[in-house]
Symmetry: C2
């Protein structure tokens, strides 16, 4: 009798459930449920209050609705008997965090707090905690905090303590009322199992925790704000569970939401990007996984902890138990192309695309693919959404250079793709220069299946063969794999993620190999990119930051 696992992948706009055959990894049924309130970045649903700039909130009840809708839908579509579903895993965007009562009730679900924006979920892309991030970075540098170099010497405004400190700064009453401050990832697992168990991945990558050193000391938190001294013990937890552990079993209530049986195994929560690594077949060192979607996330495993300047972080057991997981990222990839298509492509192209039965992206790819490397004369810096690695600077902005009156949209489109490929090469080289091998790349996420030109450009620019994960929903598949591991071999699953990856994850037949002629030209263009990267990104000319400061001043 076949056994199945379900992965639930909580994205930015929706949640996806995927039902997978444990034996061969076949993806049997999937269902996407959009969040009712989506990304809350303009007005608060309760009061219509106009949110300040850079706020991005969510409604946690939308996550519960995913359990209530997407899981029953895959059961129904597949016809699988709930008794044959042995485990559930989840993955989430991160850091996406919320304040709750001691029993897990979100503050924003309470009448007393629902009108306060700080009572809501702060989504990963909530960027309004930059002043707090600046304070954390300055204080850590001043105090010589040893953990700082684990995170490329800079903590992001997106991360846990930046967001937590913003609540304290701007809404101390919400901070006081919050018994718990918790990642959405851990919160949904808590809702499934009834137990608060926090995962090593978000703790490590987003909340400055390490297996060997724990959290920063209370002196550090006190230096940020005396009221923040006990944040870990008062509102978080020092019990952190390794990726691959079992969190617990489905409660009666969660079973009723999902249509699964009470007692079904539930895995410790994971992050969407990190859970994709084993789903892309990677459980060993030397093979980088890039999750290519709205942004790029680069993950590679190592046997030792190395401090790589400008990386997002390194976490022991954070991706695969027993190994160090290194993470880097680019904050603007698919988003970049979407911005371009929405704002910069003329009506004539829309018409041409429609006439050819293509979407605009496909038309642009087709036209851009007809260009020779270097033919456009264009070069861009891919910082439309700041630079995540290696400069770790959200105030950097995009640049395009080389335009003439003959420049066509497809040339700009290709230059933007190339810019993201150069950005990836900067990251790959930073890893290698610091002793973390990157011999091969496996791509996953939404882009590889949609844009062959992009994949070839990445191969040409990086000089590395790029393979592609077979699954198009690596997050949900990885979560299902961890669900099977939570169930364990005794219940028809697997005892380790290594076994699960062996049995459930596959690569596509297609691979992208560097084309030597293209590589030669891209080497020249990359050298130009690096010069500009350093000029604009490392302090020679901080014009981008000054313009952004001026813009902020003018917008008030």
């Amino acid at each position: 009798m076949s056994k199945y696992a379900i992965g639930v992948d909580f994205g930015t706009e929706s949640g996806r459930a995927l039902l997978v055959d444990v034996a061969g990894g076949r993806e049997v049924a999937t269902h996407v449920h959009p969040y009712g309130d989506g990304v809350i970045d303009e007005t608060l649903p309760t009061t219509g209050y106009k949110l300040p700039p850079d706020f991005a909130l969510q409604n946690p009840m939308d996550y519960i609705a995913v359990f209530q809708n997407a899981v029953p839908a895959v059961l129904e579509a597949s016809g699988v008997d709930p008794a044959d579903v042995i485990g559930v895993g989840i993955d989430f965007t991160a850091c996406t965090m919320l304040p709750t009562l001691a029993d897990g009730t979100p503050l924003c679900a309470l009448d007393a707090w629902k009108d306060n924006p700080h009572a809501w979920v702060k989504l990963w892309k909530h960027h309004a905690a930059q002043p707090e991030a600046d304070k954390i970075n300055a204080t850590a540098a001043e105090m010589g905090e040893p953990w700082l170099s684990r995170y490329g010497n800079k903590i992001s405004s997106e991360w846990f303590f930046s967001k937590a400190l913003q609540i304290l700064d701007e809404a101390p009453e919400v901070y006081a009322a919050a018994d718990r401050l918790i990642e959405g990832a851990d919160w949904v697992v808590w809702q499934l199992t009834g137990e608060e168990k926090r995962n090593a991945c978000t703790a490590g990558y987003k909340a400055i925790w390490s297996k060997r050193e724990g959290y920063p000391g209370s002196a550090f938190f006190k230096a940020l704000d005396p009221r923040f001294e006990d944040v870990v013990d008062a509102k978080m937890s020092r019990d952190i569970y390794a990726i691959g552990d079992k969190a617990g079993e489905l409660t009666e209530q969660a079973a009723a939401w999902t249509g699964l049986l009470p007692g079904t195994a539930v895995a410790i929560a994971n992050v969407d990007a990190h859970v994709s690594v084993p789903a892309a077949t990677v459980t060993e060192v030397g093979r980088m996984v890039i999750i290519m979607g709205t942004s790029n996330c680069h993950m590679v495993l190592g046997r030792e902890e190395k401090r790589v300047p400008g990386m997002c972080g390194v976490v022991e057991d954070g991706i695969i138990p027993g190994l160090f997981g290194f993470e880097a990222g680019q904050s603007c990839v698919g988003d970049h192309f979407a911005w371009f298509v929405e704002n910069c492509v003329p009506a004539a192209y829309e018409k041409e695309a429609a006439a050819k039965g293509l979407n605009v992206h496909q038309l642009l790819e087709q036209k851009a693919a007809a260009l020779a490397v270097g033919e456009s004369g264009l070069l861009a810096l891919d910082w439309w959404n700041g630079n995540r690695s290696t400069l770790v600077d959200v105030d950097l902005t995009g640049m395009l250079l080389g335009a003439t009156l003959a420049t066509k949209p497809e040339e700009i489109y290709r230059a933007l793709i190339e810019a993201t490929a150069y950005g990836t090469r900067v990251i790959v080289e930073a890893f290698e220069e610091n002793g973390v091998a990157v011999d091969e790349i496996v791509a996953t996420g939404g882009l590889p299946g949609r844009n062959k030109l992009l994949m070839q450009i990445y191969a040409d620019v990086s000089g590395r063969e790029i393979k592609v994960a077979a699954t198009e929903q690596a997050g949900a598949l990885g979560s299902a794999m961890f669900g099977a591991v939570a169930a364990g071999e005794a219940r028809g699953g697997y005892d380790t993620i290594f076994q699960a990856a062996q049995e459930m994850a596959r690569l596509q037949d297609v691979t992208y190999k560097p084309i030597p002629e293209n590589q030669a030209v891209y080497d020249k263009l990359y050298a130009e990119y690096v010069t500009l990267y350093d000029y604009f990104g490392r302090g020679s000319n901080d014009v981008m930051k000054r313009l952004k400061a001026l813009k902020a001043e003018i917008r008030g």
Copy 2:
């Protein structure tokens, strides 16, 4: 009885005739006649031969067709008696030159030569003579030629000797067959009067002639190529006529073309930009005229010859007799916005514009005008078509910086306008730093009437009041004014251009004054612009030129 003058303005795509009342400058009738062959930049009309890159040719017979069509049309539309038309003036693009026989017959009109592209008119924007311009500049620098600094130390590929030398280099047989090499401006006057008389404006600005020093010496031409040693005496002329002189009178043949009377006075030829200066009321020092259209042309008068680095040129009697005329330019202004609208504005904007009864430029202007100065965070270098002044470098390219995922088309549109305004300020400051006063600006050309936002931005950025010429066809009006001067007071015209300007040229009531708050922010942005201008334009990072060279190499 009223007297009239006709100005004929030869543009890039068409010629315009304007019939003007000499007494008050009233523009009675105008007619535009498009050139049959337009700009010949893809294939030669006779053979279909595919032209090399950067070629831009014209058919001189198209100019004759303007006399044959546009002049009769204004006579008919106005009902004016040809006997009351006292003078004709013409202005032309420059340097636009052609090879002819001794009697003025264009080589391209002869069966023997019509299939050779070098026998045709080389239009001002023919950019294929860059190797020859490079050779002229290098040779002049080496030989310490004193005239070089009169032209900002660089001769353009657009100018007369670059083009003439290209004919010699690439088609020595055409060069040998050409009895004359002549500006289109002088050629059409020759066709009207039967006499070859060359004007000081094109000779001075485009052919390295000066009233005091004449042409470069034959040793210089010999150094370029021994066969080029006698180019001036063999194929040009040392008799140069001041702007404001009379060239002659209409021949019987030209009278038949135009419907005017034989013997009608004809002025010495002029250049479209320069002739606009008196049409914009300016005949004295301290007031800069900017002709704002596809490109910007800046002209200002002075009492002494100053050498201003990076200027296009200074010519005594070249604009107004008795004064030194200084010229500078920006090669990409209206063209810039047109490129943007054609290539970078999404379908949604086209729809919105249509719904509001606006064109896309108007919609963008409306949206861009709603932005505060500095609010977009964007900064551009306006080099989409190279830099004409003060860097004099066609290999520079456009740059846009500061883009984010929230950047909207109107923000880019505004940044492009601002970039051209910064470029103008660089020019104004270069004049002033070198002793040429610019106290006030008078704008003319196609843009001032179409884009109030642009005008205000120029006032705010330059810190100077900007007035606007009343006429919307300054070239043709200026030509008509010179036609009235050619006729002279005795025939019902004027003896000097000063009188003609007094009587026939006017300003609009509207003026644009700098807004102090905007000025303050623009001063900051301008400082950023200048830093990038110097970084990319003066050798710190020649990435633009390297990319352009790579592009040329790849395109073959």
